[in-house]
């Protein structure tokens, strides 16, 4: 008798990043039990959660989504999509839902659609904080009621539990708010009762599609999980899953390459072993999962001001030689001028940053070569203020006064910055910052989540 197993395809690392048609076709031939795909991340910074806007374009997401819906239809298996709209806010789930409805209508598909919302009202999180149900992770910024309420959006990262619930209700397509990437791939096999060690390690391995193969940009992978391990093979014929490529993927974007915390416990890959089945397929065994107290990671992002930036270049060796004094001099002037014109204080309501590309703009104070002189420096002005118009008004005199700021070597009026654009100021819109590195200890498994199921035809 065969041991029970579950198979899956992970078609791409992120919905909207694209994948070759033939890789999905190859995946369909392999008859997976389900398809899952991640659609979000905090990796691109606090804007997407703060503004509740997606990183990838609608046309890019729709292009991938439509193909996955067709594949799901052909196979008659569930499709799970996580962290809809990049940050997994309610807007993100609704954004992808509307694309599912549009595609289903165009293609004449009927399906049962499950939506799992994981956005949290700041007011509710503030109440949970008061009841000691919000706990900080190591190195978390200190928070209080006020900083929680300042968040424009807060999401709780779901594990497999809410997704299993939606699958058990017979949903063909499940759109998740913020979800652990791994949980998207763990839900179906957990529902089928496969051992959690191989399930979670498999999820960790395949979550980025072909990134765990020898050709990271080649599309997706197929995986098969049973109680003692899992095997992975690429959907591209050119790529391979080698023991090295799979083991190396546990490094990517993880602080600890052996321990991975999920809402229901920790995956431990310390004793995992990797064996090549053939030159394209590798099997992994020995992974374990330690159950722990159920917690949900919170992500919150707060508005911090509107920004206007200006970019220029400096070529005069005298300016470059004394660039710190030159910058400090103009910065003093800017502070007075901001106060005079707007009533705001630099360092409080208004922030002006000046960085020099070609010296230490990338590494800041940790730059080991900052004393090495360049023949040309790029200069970036970043003005942050409570209103866009204020940021731009400040940037307008900053670029003007900055470009004529004198140096001791020259007598008379200079023009010290080469601006490529007219006007040199560029409005960047709102800027946000991450506020929470905390977990929620919820009252119950599903308490923080809202479910909706609809028939689409």
């Amino acid at each position: 008798m065969n041991t029970p197993s579950v198979s899956l395809i992970s078609p791409t690392g992120a919905l909207g990043m694209g994948f070759p048609d033939e890789t999905l076709e190859r995946g369909i031939v392999l008859q997976p039990d389900f398809i899952a795909c991640d659609a979000g991340s905090t990796d691109s910074g606090p804007f997407y959660l703060g503004a509740s806007k997606p990183k990838l374009s609608r046309r890019a997401v729709l292009h991938d989504l439509r193909r996955l819906l067709r594949a799901r239809q052909e196979l008659g298996v569930p499709l799970v999509i996580g962290s809809c709209g990049t940050s997994g806010t309610d807007d993100g789930v609704n954004w992808v839902r509307e694309m599912v409805l549009e595609s289903a209508k165009e293609e004449g598909m009927s399906l049962k659609l499950g939506l799992i919302y994981s956005e949290q009202k700041p007011q509710k999180i503030a109440e949970a904080f008061k009841k000691d149900m919000v706990q900080s992770l190591p190195g978390a910024p200190s928070i209080d009621r006020e900083s929680i309420l300042k968040c424009s959006h807060i999401v709780a990262m779901m594990g497999h539990e809410p997704i299993v619930k939606a699958l058990e209700e017979g949903c063909d397509v499940v759109l998740c708010g913020r979800a652990s990437d791994t949980a998207l791939f763990a839900a179906y096999p957990m529902m089928k009762g496969i051992a959690p060690g191989p399930v979670w390690h498999c999820g960790k391995t395949v979550e980025c599609g072909a990134v765990c193969t020898t050709l990271p940009a080649s599309g997706g992978v197929f995986a098969k999980i049973d109680d003692s391990g899992f095997s992975v093979e690429p959907l591209s014929e050119e790529a391979a899953c080698t023991p090295m490529s799979l083991a190396a993927h546990t490094l990517y974007e993880n602080a600890d390459p052996n321990l991975f915390r999920e809402p229901s416990g920790t995956l431990d890959t310390t004793n995992s072993s990797y064996h090549a089945i053939n030159d394209r397929v590798t099997r992994v065994e020995g992974s374990v999962f330690h159950p722990e107290r159920y917690t949900l990671k919170l992500e919150g992002s707060a508005f911090r001001g509107y920004q206007t930036v200006a970019i220029g270049g400096i070529r005069d060796p005298f300016i470059i030689r004394g660039v710190d004094a030159w910058r400090d001099g103009m910065m003093e002037h800017f502070k007075q001028r901001v106060q005079e014109l707007t009533g705001f204080e630099v360092g409080r309501e208004v922030n002006i940053e000046i960085s020099f590309y070609g010296r230490d703009a990338v590494m800041g104070k940790t730059e080991p070569m900052q004393d090495q002189s360049a023949h040309e420096l790029g200069i970036l002005f970043t003005v942050t203020a409570p209103e866009q118009s204020v940021a731009t008004d400040i940037a307008r005199f900053v670029t003007h006064a900055g470009s004529h700021w004198s140096i001791p070597e020259w007598k008379g009026f200079i023009s010290g910055i080469a601006f490529p654009f007219s006007p040199p100021e560029i409005e960047r819109g709102p800027a946000y910052r991450f506020m929470l590195n905390h977990v929620l200890v919820p009252d119950s498994l599903f308490d923080p989540f809202r479910f909706s199921v609809e028939e689409v035809w």
């Binding site: 905090t42 990796d43 691109s44 910074g45 606090p46 804007f47 992770l137 190591p138 190195g139 978390a140 910024p141 023991p243 090295m244 083991a247 190396a248 546990t250 490094l251 990517y252 974007e253 993880n254 602080a255 600890d256 390459p257 052996n258 995992s272 072993s273 990797y274 911090r304 922030n351 940053e353 960085s355 703009a361 990338v362 590494m363 800041g364 104070k365 940790t366 080991p368 942050t384 800027a431 946000y432 910052r433 991450f434 590195n437």
Partner: protein, 107 residues
């Protein structure tokens, strides 16, 4: 090649990269093509926790440094000195923070 004279990490490694590990951590991966190259770096003890702490100006006890023989990789991580996207951010993805590693001498 492991008996060869002095080299540096940039020459020895097949990939050196840095990246966010969530908004609050930064992580560095050093990969090697051969077991010999990997063991040579491990034996030389580069990068050391002390070097990492001094270079990135963080307390040594915050550095997590791991060797992964199965992936022929050395990995280190520490809490991001600035939360991703906070004022003064210069590298949103932390993708360009690894350059000082390249010149590290390896016996």
């Amino acid at each position: 090649m492991s008996g060869a004279s002095k080299t540096n990490l940039g020459m020895l490694a097949s990939l050196i990269r840095s990246k966010n590990a969530g908004p609050f951590w930064i992580t560095f991966d050093l990969m090697f093509d051969t077991e010999a190259d990997f063991l040579r770096a491990v034996k030389a003890g580069v990068p050391s926790k002390r070097w990492i702490a001094e270079t990135y100006r963080i307390p040594e006890e915050e550095v997590l440094l791991v060797q992964l023989p199965q992936a022929r990789a050395i990995k280190f991580s520490f809490p991001r000195p600035r939360i991703q996207g906070d004022p003064g951010e210069s590298d949103m993805y932390s993708g360009q923070q690894y350059a000082p590693l390249l010149d590290l001498p390896v016996e």
